[in-house]
Symmetry: C2
Subunit: 333 residues, 2 copies
């Protein structure tokens, strides 16, 4: 067996060591989520699929891993004034829960159009909600004001070494559960999960292939890879409300170097995959959560001869926080 | 520890020995389903809840356990002509899958109004569908005709020792996973699961209290317990399409003796519990699958002082085969 590749010299914001530290740090709090399989779906795609069910994570999404790692990384002096973030919802809820577990305040800036169920999660976990307009500028400005007013520490949703390390624990866990995985498909948004998963996977086995799945209406990561630099969009439009943010200076180099390809799917494909998750796996995923399966089922992945040897595919079902009303409407689009 | 209570002298159609045999028999085929917990739901009800997620069982419902046990109990001479049943859906799919695994034909008589997704499951597993009218008489007559025509062995959905033993394995598994359970709540229909679970639980720990949950529009088990004899209804009307059948001569004595109470809930309570399963547990259950949680949340259970010491409650989420369209309509009732 070749020695573990640590990325130590690559200058990334995280590496396998920080990911293993995160795993130990969050172990008392985070759930070890199950891996589901389905003979039915396997026979549809002609590959063995392993669904890492992060919708069963505390707070209903993988985001708790990163948030928990970040909150418990703070020393007491830093932590005492609390934490602040802006997020479309899942990171906000996750940070609220992690802060609650540490006994410190969480201030969360949430765009006015966030799904109700995600807002309800924030409140359930005791997070203090501050609304912003649904633009990145308004979100950042509002969060900066809260920092100045309270002295709270900013915990970004993706572009942060502690977050990347926390999300990387998904991959450590999955490869412990299913050692034969040769391919991983994860949703991409700010790139926290994609970065963490890619760093962990490549450290454990350089041969594992990493793909990220992105909605057509928010395809900034695809464009960034194509252009060779971080590319942002002036607006995003997708049913996958969790996937509207952009890559940052910490996540981009990792995505650039370690993610082989960004598979772009449209909303119809996302909804179709979501229905399969409900009907076949019996797992209540949100649209963002199903996008990895959508990518795998897409013509561009299916018909690409270079991917024909992706035989044991791990797919992260990233979250399950969905308004049932919105869900149904999207099924009828 | 007191010696295991075997029920051997009670004349029931199954006992702890047949349930343990079933566990060994189905082990190569059935899934060991996970047990989910939720701090949120625990804090709502003031008890510790353990959700045995049989919606993740093969075929999408617990029914595979009984069907698999029955099919693999047959000797080769019996098995060769195949098996036949009538079922509202989940048993039909489960029997089709079990027969497929054994390499024998399955003939399934399905009422015309069965949910499409359940029919799709039957066909996916290679079962041969024969439609009947949606009355028990038509279902039985049609199944009898298939038996005569094919020589197939009838495998009832509930009222059968092999089925009761198979369903009892849910309880063996759950008590292995969570030893501190003091109370169990299961859906009741034909009584196969209630009987099997009650027999297993009482054999392992006589102190475990067993409750069954039943829809108001199909409350035959409630009436049977009240009247002290099997009581059938001329018609049933409930959103819980899996719970329309009645107790039989094998299941009734066990339900009569070992099930402490039947908790009756209306469709609104069932739908509310179902929403909680989706939104909090992220588990896609069918209405019948959520009825145990509905019973626990009902005023009649909550306000009954005799149940205040039910502190560690196991709830079987029995299945997840739901037409999403029907689901949504029921949410808006």
């Amino acid at each position: 067996m070749e020695p573990e590749y640590t990325n130590a010299g690559d200058g990334y914001a995280a590496d396998i060591v920080s990911i293993r530290e995160a795993q130990a740090r969050i172990k008392p709090f985070a759930r070890k989520t199950p891996v589901f399989t389905s003979d039915t779906l396997d026979s549809v795609v002609g590959r063995k699929l392993y669904f890492k069910c992060e919708c069963f994570q505390k707070g209903g999404a993988f985001k708790f891993r990163g948030a928990c790692n970040a909150v418990f990384s703070l020393d007491d002096a830093q932590a005492t004034k609390g934490v602040v973030t802006h997020s479309s919802g899942n990171h906000a809820a996750a940070l609220s829960l992690a802060a609650k577990l540490r006994g410190i305040p969480a201030y969360v800036v949430v765009p006015r159009n966030a799904p109700k169920c995600k807002l309800a999660n924030v409140k359930r976990y005791g997070g203090q909600v501050i609304f912003s307009e649904p633009t990145m500028q308004s979100r950042e400005d509002t969060a900066n004001k809260v920092m100045r007013d309270t002295g709270a520490v900013l915990i970004p949703s993706s572009n942060d070494g502690r977050i990347i390390s926390g999300q990387g624990t998904i991959c450590l866990e999955l490869l412990e559960q299913v050692s034969q995985i040769d391919t991983l498909i994860v949703p991409i948004c700010g790139g926290g999960m994609a970065s963490g998963v890619a760093l962990a996977a490549k450290a454990i086995n350089r041969a594992i292939r990493i793909f990220a799945a992105e909605p057509l209406g928010a395809n900034d990561a695809f464009l960034s890879k194509k252009n060779g630099r971080i590319t942002k969009l002036s607006e995003v439009d997708t049913v996958a409300d969790g996937l509207g943010a952009f890559l940052g200076d910490h996540t981009w180099p990792i995505v650039r170097d370690l993610v082989e390809d960004i598979i772009v799917v449209d909303d119809k494909e996302i909804i179709q995959a979501m229905k399969l998750c409900y009907e076949i796996l019996k797992v209540a995923v949100e649209p963002s959560g199903a996008i990895g399966l959508a990518a795998l089922l897409s013509d561009s992945f299916k018909n690409n001869a270079a991917y024909s040897d992706c035989k044991h595919v791990g797919i992260v079902l990233s979250g399950g926080n969905v308004d049932l009303g919105v869900l149904w409407n999207s099924f009828h689009k």
